[in-house]
Subunit: 112 residues, 2 copies
Amino acid sequence: MKWTDLDDNWCPVARTLSLVGDRWTLLILRDCFLGLSRFDQFVLSTGATRHLISDRLKRLVEAGILEKQAYSERPKRYEYVLTEKGHEFSPALVAFKDWGKKHLPVRRATQG
Amino acid sequence: MKWTDLDDNWCPVARTLSLVGDRWTLLILRDCFLGLSRFDQFVLSTGATRHLISDRLKRLVEAGILEKQAYSERPKRYEYVLTEKGHEFSPALVAFKDWGKKHLPVRRATQG
DNA sequence: GTTTTAAGTTCCAAATAAGAACTTTGTAAG
DNA sequence: CTTACAAAGTTCTTATTTGGAACTTAAAAC
């Protein structure tokens, strides 16, 4: 079964996962809540390949979670910002953050 | 970058994702909160392959999120139950559920 | 005119996942 | 004892996804 097949599952958790249920998508969303909005920022911050970031941003825009906005006309440059729908996803990330802070302490320093 | 490399990331969200940040793991956890606990139940309920379920359960046990408990001695049979650490993950799933209910209405009926 | 910056896309090798069949350990039925 | 059944995995082969580096496009800066 492909994970996008979950999009019509009876369970709202499964439907949510069909959209954002992978590591990089959620990491991109985290970045958005931290104020990042540009392609290369996501690449640097997440450590994912450009290919993946490209694909996930497309998905998130299609889903109405992010919005592509021009921040420069010449050269044409776009950034990705959270929609209202996207903003309302914050409780999930906060829950992840709280759980991680409590149960997964860092063992050595890294830059992410 | 491999996603398990996120386990020592400075960000608690990233660390959490390194453990549970994939579709099937989160679906298994949902099932646990719904009261399921056995291998074949997870296979049926999630629609994932036995291989995947096997792998993810192993990970979750190693991480101390689930506990393998014998429910029959002969034949030896085990079930998987949430630990305290696992139980404390519920706010994240509740957030997913709420978001899904609000933003992703079902289009046609399915069995999951 | 060469370098730099931003936002992607393309290519190929490597890793992961899908799907079905098979294994193991034991119970119950004929 | 031989067949059937059940639960919990494992194994196998094929398909899909991901990783990593290089390339593209468009304009500005040097």
